[in-house]
Symmetry: none
Subunit: 238 residues, 4 copies
């Protein structure tokens, strides 16, 4: 029926509007500064209406986190299937590019991820949304881990006896998450001599992967160029 469809569409639009506003606010004033009153007063809807979409404040935060993780997963998927990749090492570079693009393009999403990691929200939230988060996080790791296992299978990645593909995943995750967290929360990077942290991150990441003997299929490879290509070709960097 047309009516139902329109109503459902409107409902989803409203929900998106609430989340958009809450996301920006969360980024600006932090978890503690975010209040239902504030959301309502800065929106064309009233508090009661917001409660018709979300059972409580925590559900809003978690919905934002779900959006963020979904977006990240989507970008990881796009990157991992990039047609320009010539080898598994290319594909992992593409993931790095996706992570970079994600923070650049959706800084609010990244802020939400960090907040959710530090605030304890879980008690009042729905099982459904909690699971969604776990699933997204798991799948992101699966994608990266899958590329590593591909590399192992094809022989362009070798691991020492005690290390597994998952340790590579953990290394990339740590390095990226740590770097972006520091960049977004530390005010004195510049004056401490760290002038281009993103370039440094790229370099550090490559060193680590090189350390794992993760090689391009043929000859040398300029991964900076690969990452820029991915950002351009997959994510439409202007």
């Amino acid at each position: 029926m047309v009516t139902v469809t329109r109503k459902q569409r409107e409902r989803l639009e409203r929900e998106a509007k609430i989340l958009d506003l809450a996301r920006g606010m969360l980024h600006e004033v932090g978890y503690l500064g975010l209040s239902m009153d504030r959301i309502a007063s800065q929106m064309e809807y009233s508090k009661g209406t917001i409660y018709q979409h979300f059972q409580n404040k925590e559900e809003i935060i978690l919905a934002l986190a779900n959006e963020a993780l979904e977006k990240r997963l989507e970008m990881f998927e796009s990157a991992s299937t990039w047609s320009g990749a010539t080898c598994s090492r290319d594909r992992i570079a593409a993931i790095g590019a996706a992570a970079e693009k994600f923070v650049e393009q959706y800084p609010h999403h990244f802020a939400v991820e960090q907040i959710v990691r530090s605030a304890s929200i879980w008690e009042k939230t729905s099982e459904e949304r909690r699971q969604f988060m776990q699933v997204c996080e798991g799948r992101c790791m699966q994608i990266v881990g899958g590329i590593a296992r591909d590399g192992l299978a094809h022989g362009d990645l070798e691991l020492p006896a005690e290390r597994s593909a998952e340790d590579v995943v953990f290394g990339l995750w740590s390095l990226n998450f740590g770097a972006y967290t520091i960049v977004t929360s530390s005010e004195s990077l510049e004056e401490n001599g760290i002038r281009d942290p993103i370039a440094a991150l790229r370099h550090n990441q490559n060193l680590m992967l090189d350390g794992y003997n993760w090689r391009p299929l043929y000859g040398d490879r300029d991964y900076d160029a690969v990452m820029d290509r991915v950002k351009r070709e997959v994510f439409g960097n202007e």
Copy 2:
């Protein structure tokens, strides 16, 4: 005067007591669960007295962060001057051991660092304490950066043209901070195949430093063993 001295001592002791209690509480119940009422009720002093030591709640948090950073700085200093080091690469390994030990021995301190990074506390806090934090953070970076510059001077570390000692610092910082944050906030590491994240961190860190061509002075070096020695000799691992 003796009186003043005693009073000052008592004042400092009280302050330490307040912070000890607040730190434990912060770790247990989180930033939201921490309240002046709760602190006071679990202490032999009253709310009013606490306010004579700290202008507001945020100042307490910041004081905790100062303590944490001071402790970390102290451990970094101890590690950087470790007498057992045979080369700059040994000394950087010692810093890694210090970072590891810090999280192990003072998990509350590390938790405070994370909270301060995510909660926006700054507006109500005193310039003095804010600066103290900056100074500590700067000095920690100076120590690590200094070791790197030492390495460069002695030729056991080489950098590509576009990279600086600070980029190495940033790499180590990112990797460590990211790893410990993930370890303390992610519940599904194990089930995602990451079974020994600390060992993985050590490995990843070494790969990165190896990538920078940071070499031991003579022959090969078992950095796992070096780190364990530092933890034992400098920080008294039992």
Copy 3:
């Protein structure tokens, strides 16, 4: 017109449905738990539709009270015209049986009566419904009072100078209403030694009426048996 009649019938049916649902809800979750949202969500009609039948929440409650009083009145009328009565004392026993049956068969109705008596609903309700309540209550008293006056007229009831038929009514009312209220709201009757309150009520009521010298026409009379007969013959006790 047929249309109007059908519409009116439908309207009445809907109204009855709303009240049925509200009554059960009122009994289960109490006055505070009763909400328009809850009624609507458990019904095939929406909130707006409910408001087309009842001006506000209080009107629903009052409508329930009206139903309750109407039902009680109907039962009192049936009891008072019981064909098995041999004298006015029999008829008053029949009223007692009706009161007993009412609480047994329609506990929800009785609960409504109590709630209306304790919650202050009156301000927002319609004069019409308020009057209906008064009328029902008055008629109930008239019925009982009428039996008493009959007894006086026929000489099987005698009153002291200062007492009127209405005082007998008040006595029966007090005793019954008090007893059922205590039974439905006191949790510790049993442990305080009151094991069969309904039997006690019957006995106490008979003692009071005996005290008024309200006599059966001929010889002795087993009022317990009379009341059971009324419940069976008039109200179809299975």
Copy 4:
């Protein structure tokens, strides 16, 4: 120490003040109309202060109920030990006088008793206060039951085989509670011919007790006079 004593006294005074105000308000606007905001706004203290005395709204209500039941118990005790009693029947009349006086002198207390009976408050209240209520109610019944058992022991009260002293207690309780409830909540008593309900209650009560063959020790007894004497001598009727 004097200081502690003064502070405790002040605390108790404040608590009493809060309860006094809440009691009046509860009587005027009912359980539903009573709100913490309203209490605070009509008092010289703020909301926060009230919460320093009572954990939540329900605790206030229950504290009021405790006061009411304690007062009633106290009056029952005074009545039961009235020195002017010549026999157990006199003492039961004294209890009746106490019940009458209680409603007269502390109508707010009686209103609280009724409200607590109908509102479901229990879930959030402290076990301590809940028990206090049970104990008071139990003791009131014990007092009345004790008088009845005394009467049985001395032979001035006889019971049929199936009835116990507790059934007499229940009868008195029902009749009194019912009567006062109707009096305080029914607006059309007068116009329905019930002109002096209290006198009627006294009469009905006596008829019931007479029915139980509860006799004065010697000759006849004017229980109206006895009750008035109790109200005068024990409770200082002006």
